[in-house]
């Protein structure tokens, strides 16, 4: 059995009965939708026409939300339905990043993730999804795609159909008959602040009732190339906003400091064969430990259900990079503890083992976020192979800056600070190059290019150019290059640390401003 949907746009009249029937059946809160209707208008009078497109979860055969969920709150059933369990969800919102189709929302009641689940509770007793039942035109068809005698299989085989974003490799099982390209491509008709019947002025879902305004609509930096008649989005649901806020870049930064400090520490000892004063070694260890705790703290702070944070370890979905990352951080922490214990109890062999083990885990800790972001199939900008290098460099820069500060504080040899200065100069230089490549290089998709554009010249340009590029990378690079004055070096370190935060802030925010539907 393989359940899916057909939306027959030859019949859909855009009446929104499906939207409301679903709300009623599933007691969906105000502001968020499991299914909805998007209106797009094309053309110039009198050759104008309006298109209605029903949008919701595609019950993908290869669902990226299931892959990324750390706690198996999203699951692909053997019968093809992608269901969810609100009792398991911790509110990490990774699924909302993984889904390329904007299908998921955070329920403001339970603070857990939700989406169309084919009315699984009705399926259980032999009833059709509520939207299928209500549609006056029977334009929504549900059923077993594997049953050749059934209506849905006959439609999918016998009619011309399209699916949304086939290039994502999700194998969607929602087929549109007479689907309209301009409506199915989220980037063709841009989001608007006001539609012909509605205008959002406050947040919804994760942001419901929080007294905040509506999420900003990104205005395209350039006029779209003229590819045909005017296309305009005239009705859509409210925007759910960027659900990964400052907590995620904060966690990445803390993680960068923690892992970076230990990595640079390891490099200084094992590669550069430096002798470091004990106070510095203890200081580095303490910083690693404290920032590792902060990493966990920011992670938990980001969760919409922080009370369930233990589920990441106790209800693990091992395919998820959140779980793998959690295990990595745990391993890293264990080795940190081991190093501290070994140093305290003065067992050099154990200390060396802890140093090498810790360095390995620190490396994975530094870069695993790139894999997590890479699993977020909704965010093309993060699908870059450069992201791994970017994460590693940020880690080394954070670590190097922190160590330099520590060193200046504990009083170290000029050789030490000279070495660190060289590392930082190379690091900042490489990082600037990597960022510029990520921003100005050719992107494999329009969405990735648009995200880069938002950073380069859009709503995030000030934060990037001032906070990240100039203050966070270029200035510290110059300072570290030309000065050996401790005060200047301390300033460079602080700037470098804040630069890591600004970079991550912008990198996390930008792709969330690209519409998915």
């Amino acid at each position: 059995m393989n359940y899916g949907f057909v939306i027959d746009a030859r019949k859909c009249i855009g009446c929104h009965a499906c939207t409301v029937a679903c709300k009623s059946e599933n007691e969906v809160p105000l502001g968020v939708n499991r299914t909805w209707v998007k209106y797009v208008e094309k053309g110039t009078f009198p050759d104008t026409r309006r298109y209605f497109t029903v949008l919701r979860c595609n019950h993908c055969a290869e669902p990226p939300c299931v892959d990324i969920c750390p706690v198996e709150a999203l699951q692909k059933r053997p019968d093809g339905i992608v269901d969810f369990d609100g009792r398991r969800c911790i509110g990490c919102k990774a699924c909302a990043q993984a889904c390329p189709y904007n299908a998921l929302y955070i329920d403001p009641d339970t603070h857990t993730s939700a989406k169309c689940n084919y009315c699984a509770h009705r399926k259980e007793v032999g009833l059709q999804p509520a939207c299928v039942t209500v549609c006056p035109q029977q334009a929504i068809v549900s059923g077993d795609l594997d049953d050749p005698s059934g209506k849905i299989a006959a439609l999918v085989a016998g009619e011309q159909t399209v699916v949304r974003k086939p290039e994502k490799g999700t194998s969607p099982k929602l087929y549109y008959i007479n689907g309209d390209g301009a409506s199915l491509d989220p980037l063709q008709a841009p989001l608007q602040e006001e539609y012909h019947w509605s205008a959002q002025s406050r947040g919804v879902g994760h942001f419901a009732g929080k007294g905040k305004g509506a999420p900003g609509i990104e205005k395209p930096a350039h006029a779209a190339p003229k590819a045909g008649p005017k296309v305009r989005r005239v009705y859509d649901i409210p925007s759910k906003g960027a659900v990964w806020g400052w907590e995620v870049p904060a966690y990445v930064t803390a993680k960068a400091v923690s892992s970076g400090v230990f990595l640079v520490f390891f490099a200084l000892l094992a590669i550069f064969r430096q002798q470091l004063p004990a106070s510095l070694e203890w200081g580095a260890w303490a910083v690693s430990l404290v920032f590792l705790a902060l990493t966990g703290g920011f992670l938990i702070k980001d969760l919409d259900r922080p009370d369930r944070f233990s589920s990441v370890m106790l209800r693990p979905q091992f395919g998820s990079w959140l779980v793998r990352g959690g295990l990595t951080i745990t391993g890293y922490g264990a080795f940190l503890a081991l190093w501290g214990g070994a140093r305290f109890l003065q067992i050099p062999m154990l200390e060396t083992a802890a140093l090498w083990g810790g360095a390995f885990f620190a490396l994975v800790t530094a870069i695993y976020t790139a894999f997590l972001f890479g699993a977020a199939k909704g965010r093309d900008f993060w699908q870059s192979p450069m992201l791994l290098v970017h994460m590693l460099l940020n880690s080394l820069l954070a670590g190097g800056s922190a160590l330099l500060l520590l060193g200046l504080g504990t009083g170290v040899s000029p050789e030490f600070s000279g070495l660190l200065r060289q590392m930082l100069v190379v690091g900042f230089g490489l990082h600037i190059a990597v960022m510029l490549i990520e921003l100005y290089g050719k992107h494999p998709s329009v969405a990735a290019e648009r995200a880069a554009e938002i950073i380069r010249e859009g709503s995030l340009k000030n934060q990037f150019w001032a906070g990240s590029f100039l203050a966070g990378n270029l200035l510290p690079l110059l300072l570290t290059l030309v000065s050996s004055d401790p005060a200047m070096l301390a300033l460079a370190s602080l700037l470098g640390l804040s630069g890591v935060f600004y970079t991550e802030k912008v990198w996390v925010q930008a792709p969330q401003r690209i519409p998915l539907s």
């Binding site: 009249i13 855009g14 053997p78 205008a199 106790l314 693990p316």
Partner: protein
């Protein structure tokens, strides 16, 4: 297959150690039933399970929590279609959990529009009126106290009794917005001997109705879309309008079979978007387009000769227009060619802006479709324009020409597809004619001149002692709302105002009593509507009351089962009528006696039991299942009385009626005792149509006799907003204020949160080229000046409307004042209304839509602020001198907003609106007509009084 999650070893251990909640323990949530076998899907549980249906709760899923429901059918109340609904009553909490479709309803077939399931919001509205409320202080002051139903009944009944005993029957008025009932008020008002029915029809459909009535007596179309080859809509019936759900289903069915759809609409509706031919006609030019199409059909011989020859009164036409010419069909055709010679496609294109070639193409396709040509107009052009009734007259002309009246795939008269219930008591027609409802100036008005009531009262034509407004909100919905406020505030003109309504509304704020009447799942009604080529009845019932009855706990009155003390009109009217005539001496009480228990007051069950027992085929169908007729309707909620109803005009006249009758050799009219009873066609005595000639009247003697000879035949009447009257460079446009949205319904959806979150603003649509020439950008604030004031709204610059036309959607722009009870907070702005003296009124929005705290968590999640702008209140009345229709379209002047203007501002001068009322009144050609009649006898009118009252003394 039932899937449950399989935990990892780690999770199992963690659950055992109580580190995390155990999600895998054996459920004790109960076991659900199956509606279909494993692997299959059906839309609805079978009726055999409706007394006890167990399914899983959606919010708890995947935890299996079984909930037991009783499924009770009812009918939606949100528009006239009355689509079937199935209420899921939670047997534990005795609350309605949700409303889905009723598969047994022959029209809606288990499916609904968005408003159907949203009924739940209206029922659960935390601001709804739950108890009878009486005003404290001055009318409109905003203070209210709760009172008992008993005191309300005694007060109103006493007042009515006094009025009736003093012969002031014309001071009692029942003013209805959404009826939702059939036959009930005919019984009640006649029992009172009061000509009290006043309706909203003249702001709705009387324009279209008159155009049909003058042709065939029946006043509405019933298109058989499902079997049509070509469909022509002067409407937007794929998204709005009465019966849009059942009609849309059948229009799409036809299209999937290859039928083509043409739409006449100046605005790109969703319907026009789905059409094969969008004919964006300039408002009011539609009859010119339709007559051009008629001309093509006539000239190219595409007409249905048999139908025209047999069923049109062409003999009368030739006699009157060409006396002496032989009465041959060929001469009739020659005459037609002459009549419509100047309606060339080019002329129509000049008037309408529609491409001439498209007009010809569509005309030929209509000719080819022949008898399978279905059409529809309800409002739109027929309700917007002076002479809008010509729209339906010329549209029906095309049906007549193609012989598609009453055929499969054609367009039948509505009455053929509408069931008339047989009520237990039929009081004689009332012996009064109320000139406040149907004044002499408008003898042909199709329904009551309801929107002129404030002006009539101002002129001193009469007063109202007891005024019921029932699901009716004229202050907001009607034109010139401030004149309504002035009238309502005057206690010398309106003695007692009782508002029967489920929610607070702009009109209820000016009432003396606000009496909560139930919504679709909280009341009894029988309904039948012309949705397709069949005849059905549906039963609206208070589902909690029915559930209690099924559970062996019956109640006496519906308010005992409903939330609070929400009652229903049916029982209220019976109680009221009973108390008006306590000793029966007024001859009123007798009509409320039970037909089954002599001398006792009728109960609501008995009322419907009688009707169902006298519905053809229903007792038999019920008996086949071992049920009484009433039980059958309670169980299934609907019954198909007849299917495939066509060509009823060919039904034979019963031979008993032909005794002593004579047949006119000229035109076949069968006359008996001076009355036409049928018409002979092809040698057969057919019942025909309810017109003087019993045929389709191409030539109308009535129009000649009633002083409108220029309109004796279908013609084009230039609208009051014709292009000639517009000075474009001055920013003058025609405003179309009547277009509707698929998710809203007048002022009843303001408390439906799922609907309000989809639609809550109504900017003014303006064509991009027009906007550019005025220098107006999208979203910019503009002032829309009408003849009596202005409103300030935002521009919606679009390619979806004809240049020269602007449009603003209905439903939106609700309000309450600071002193008024809070209600409809999903949709209503808080406004300040100030009187500036000399009839000048100002309204300004003080607070737009805000989230609020309530027992419904969703109220704090309101994500919109825009509550739109109230436009109707700035429109003067435009009574069409013939149909009586309020011509909605306004000539407006658009300008950029001025300094100090704010979004939502409204200004009106009611002295100016009174002047305009008088200007339009001067266009009338009043009664008397022939024989001192105040109205043609053959032209029916709602709640028809005794024939004696038709004569002016």
């Amino acid at each position: 297959m039932s899937y449950t999650h399989k935990p990892t070893v780690i999770e199992t251990i963690a659950e055992k150690l109580r580190l995390v909640p155990d999600l895998h323990k054996e459920g004790d949530g109960g076991k659900a039933m199956r509606a279909a076998e494993e692997g299959a899907e059906t839309s609805c549980p079978p009726p055999s399970r409706w007394d006890s249906w167990v399914e899983y709760d959606s919010k708890s899923w995947p935890e299996r929590k079984a909930k037991e429901y009783m499924l009770v059918p009812t009918a939606c109340f949100n528009c006239e279609a009355g689509c079937g609904l199935l209420a899921y009553v939670d047997k534990e909490t005795m609350e309605i959990r949700k409303l889905m479709g009723n598969p047994h309803h022959p029209a809606s077939r288990g499916r609904n529009c968005a408003k159907g399931p949203a009924t739940l919001n209206q029922i659960q509205d935390t601001d709804r009126v739950l108890y009878p409320m009486k005003r404290v202080g001055k009318r409109g002051e905003g203070k209210w106290e709760r009172v008992s139903w008993d005191s309300v009944l005694d007060d109103i009944a006493g007042r009515m009794r006094k009025a009736i005993m003093e012969g002031r029957n014309n001071e009692i008025s029942y003013h209805v917005g959404r009826p939702g009932h059939d036959g009930f008020m005919e019984w009640i008002l006649r029992a009172w001997n009061v000509d009290g029915h006043n309706s909203h029809t003249n702001v709705c459909s009387s324009g279209a109705r008159f155009g049909y009535a003058i042709w065939e007596g029946f006043d509405r179309p019933s298109p058989d879309h499902a079997n049509a080859k070509f469909i022509l809509l002067v409407s937007a019936h794929l998204e709005s309008g009465h019966y849009f759900n059942p009609h849309a289903q059948r229009i799409i069915e036809a299209r999937m079979k290859g039928a083509k759809l043409a739409v006449l609409d100046p605005r790109l509706s969703n319907t026009a978007s789905m059409s094969d031919y969008w004919m964006p006609s300039y408002p009011g030019s539609e009859p010119a387009v339709l007559l051009a199409m008629a001309k093509v059909i006539i000239d190219e011989g595409l007409y249905n000769r048999d139908y025209l020859e047999n069923w049109v009164n062409w003999q009368a036409y030739l006699q009157e227009e060409y006396p002496g010419t032989p009465a041959t069909f060929e001469n009739f055709i020659e005459g037609l060619k002459k009549e419509y010679a100047h309606y060339t496609p080019e002329y129509a294109s000049k008037e309408s802006g529609v491409d001439a070639a498209m007009i010809v193409d569509v005309a030929r396709k209509i000719g080819a479709a022949g008898t399978q040509f279905s059409t529809h107009v309800w409002r739109s052009a027929s309700s917007g324009n002076l002479g809008g009734w010509a729209v339906s007259r010329t549209l029906h002309f095309l049906n007549v020409l193609t012989g598609s009246v009453g055929t499969p795939g054609g367009t039948s008269p509505s009455a053929w597809n509408k069931f008339k219930p047989h009520v237990h008591a039929e009081p004689k027609p009332q012996t009064f004619w109320n000139p406040l409802h149907m004044p002499n100036e408008y003898p042909l008005a199709h329904f009551e001149m309801s929107f002129l009531l404030p002006h009539f009262l101002k002129e001193g034509r009469g007063k109202l002692d007891v005024y019921f407004t029932r699901v009716f909100n004229p202050v907001w919905t009607y034109p010139d709302g401030f004149s309504w406020i002035e009238a309502l505030e005057d206690e010398t003109k309106i003695g007692l105002h009782a508002a029967l309504t489920p929610t607070w509304s702009e009109t209820a704020y000016f009432a003396d009593y606000v009496l909560p009447m139930g919504h679709s799942a909280e009341r009894h009604d029988i309904i039948s509507y012309e949705t397709h080529a069949g005849k059905w009845i549906a039963f609206r019932q208070p589902v909690l009351r029915t559930a209690l009855r099924r559970m062996g706990k019956p109640v006496r009155y519906t308010w005992e089962a409903n939330p609070g003390e929400v009652w229903e009109e049916d029982e209220f009217w019976i109680e009221l009528t009973w108390r008006i005539d306590p000793d029966g001496s007024l001859g009123i009480r007798q009509y409320c006696m039970s037909p089954y228990r002599p001398g006792e007051k009728i109960t609501i069950e008995e009322y419907y039991r009688y009707i169902f027992e006298h519905t053809a085929g229903l007792p038999e169908a019920a008996a086949a299942e071992g049920l009484t007729a009433f039980d059958y309707m309670q169980k299934y909620g609907a019954f198909e009385v007849e299917s495939n109803v066509y060509n009823v005009h060919e039904k034979a006249v019963p031979s008993a009626d032909l005794e002593g009758a004579s047949v006119d050799p000229e035109n076949g009219l069968i006359v008996r005792n001076g009355k036409g009873i049928g018409v002979e066609v092809g040698g057969k005595a057919c019942s025909g149509f309810p017109t003087p000639s019993k045929k389709q009247e191409f030539w109308s003697k009535t129009m000649v006799e009633w002083k409108w000879p220029e309109y004796r035949m279908p013609a084009y009447i230039k609208s009051h907003i014709h292009q000639e009257t517009m000075n474009r460079s001055n920013g003058e446009f025609v405003l179309v204020p009547t277009f509707r949205l698929p998710v809203l319904i007048h002022s009843r959806s303001g408390n439906a949160k799922w609907l309000a979150e989809i639609a809550h603003r109504n900017p003014v649509w303006i064509n991009a080229a027009d906007a550019a020439s005025l220098g107006i950008e999208n979203g910019e604030l503009i002032r829309v000046n009408t003849d009596i004031g202005f409103f300030v709204n935002q521009a919606w610059v679009t390619e979806g409307i004809r240049p020269g036309v602007v449009a603003c959607s209905h439903h939106i722009g609700r309000w309450r004042r600071q002193q008024d009870p809070e209600a409809n907070r999903w949709a209503a702005n808080r406004v300040n209304i100030s009187k500036e003296g000399n009839g000048k009124w100002k309204m300004r929005v003080e607070e737009n839509i805000q989230p609020y705290e309530s027992s419904d968590a969703d109220s704090s999640r309101i994500f919109w602020s825009d509550g739109g702008v109230h436009q109707n209140i700035t429109f003067p009345v435009h009574p069409d001198p013939i149909s009586g229709m309020h011509c909605w379209h306004q000539k407006v002047r658009i300008e950029k907003s001025r300094e100090g203007d704010r979004y939502g501002d409204v200004f009106v001068d009611t002295e100016r609106s009174f002047e305009i009322y008088k200007e339009w009144l001067a266009m009338t050609r009043p009664a008397p007509g022939p024989n001192g009649l105040r109205r043609p006898l053959w032209l029916n009118r709602p709640f028809r009084p005794d024939d004696k009252t038709y004569y002016l003394k």
